[in-house]
Amino acid sequence: MSMGSDMYRQQILDHYRNPRNQGELPEPTFSHEGYNPSCGDELEFDVELRDDGETIERVAFRGEGCAISQASASMLSEKLPGMTLDEVDELDRDDVLDMLGVEVTPMRIKCAVLSEKVVQDGAEIYAGEADEVDQTTTED
């Protein structure tokens, strides 16, 4: 089992303390929020698409929670602009863990992937491929 302290590398702590793209977008194409019951983490993402209706122009997020969930949201917010919704859809757990660059202990995976799930669910709801849900949750 990997050491939990390894999760708290400088990069993570930096994103936690100084989150990038924190705030709201004035005219988001869609917004979606999510909740991780196991840590009580909350995240809300605003996404603005380009005119092609496909490609992400900008994102912003607001949130509260543990360092892993908040740093993951911040790092993801830097990675999303320029990606298409299809590409977002293809992101998986490993991409997120690669992005974080640390070994996440099994107990904390849900914190790490919350941001990805929120954006994916928001995109699916926007595209009409999923039913409207108020909130994405990771299972407790």
Binding site: S5, Y8, G40, T105
Partner: protein, 414 residues
Amino acid sequence: MEATEQAPLDVEAIRADFPILEREVADGRDLVYLDNAATSQTPDQVVDAIADYYRRYNSNVHRGLHELSQEASVAYEDAHDKLAEFVGGEDREEMVFTKNTTEAENLVAFAWGLNELGPGDEVVLTQMEHHASLVTWQQVAEKTGAEVKYIPITDEGYLDMDAAAEMITEDTQLVNVVHVSNTLGTVNPVGDLADIAHDHDAFIFVDGAQAAPTRPVDVQEIDADFYAFSGHKMLGPTGIGCLYGKRHLLEAMEPYLYGGMMIKKVTYEDSTWNDLPWKFEAGTPVIAQGVALAEAVDYIEDVGMEAIQAHEEELTEYAYDRLTETGDVDVYGPPGDDRGAVVSFNVDGIHAHDLSSILNDYGVAIRAGDHCTQPLHDTLGVAASARASFYLYNTREEVDALVDAVDEARDIFA
């Protein structure tokens, strides 16, 4: 060490009964298990009682007329007597075995609450109730049209007894109060609350999940109508809880779940119910778990409940003092010398879950989250807290390990 009337615990001898405490975690660290309010560890004596049951006299109860069944029945029935006596009840008829404390709450909520409550009735809880009672009575109120009220807590984490005296009225049908808060550590004046409830002809349900494992409990002294606790928090197995109820109340209550064992006569048209406590135990009951829990009570009584309590109070106060040495830790609830063996806290700038991850690396197992008291955490203004909780096998050195690990977390997040 000062001379005390109570002989101190021989913690080293006790630890030898708990092989799990020898475990290493996190790539070679000694386990420091401080999550006892969630579940306690299980001594060899209890594990052996389980194995002995399955290897020697496992059988269904009340049903066969063969020797195995007789032995299992006697052991299972005696376990009821023992657990009744453990909290000051009279005998097995006042002791129902459930799955856990949560089911004990639901049993009374379903068998009594759903049948008796209606619009205009009130159920008075406290702001520090566990989800086991809070969600249950909230939903029963919703189904019946009754109303739920919450006795507020003071800044120090005590119940506001003036408010309690005002909130409990003629409309109150039940007061449900946690004996020892699993988050704040507050030891509530359950006897006083019982008096107030009874003055208004209301019943009192005491949630003893944290109290029964850690201090002498006497339901008759409290004058509790119902008292619930869990086996897995008092050295016993998972899968068993206890509901003490006054005999005349249990007798008057409708059954809870239906099935075998709880009936007397059944036809295709109708059924009649068995005597106490079996009326409330439908289906094949928690036989091995009952036998094992009785063994856990023996263990506790051999060690001595007063000694356990004294040991815990000492550790708790020490932990409280050490954790608050630096100025950046908020501990929730009453002072360190007036609380049960739980210390919930937050360190400035470190989310409780990050803290617990780091502590885990140092072998220190604590719980982080809302401890099944989400609304209380809202009241405290935090989403989560870290909680260290102690039991008879914990040591001052383990408290030191906790404090040292918190220091490491501070360094990381500095």
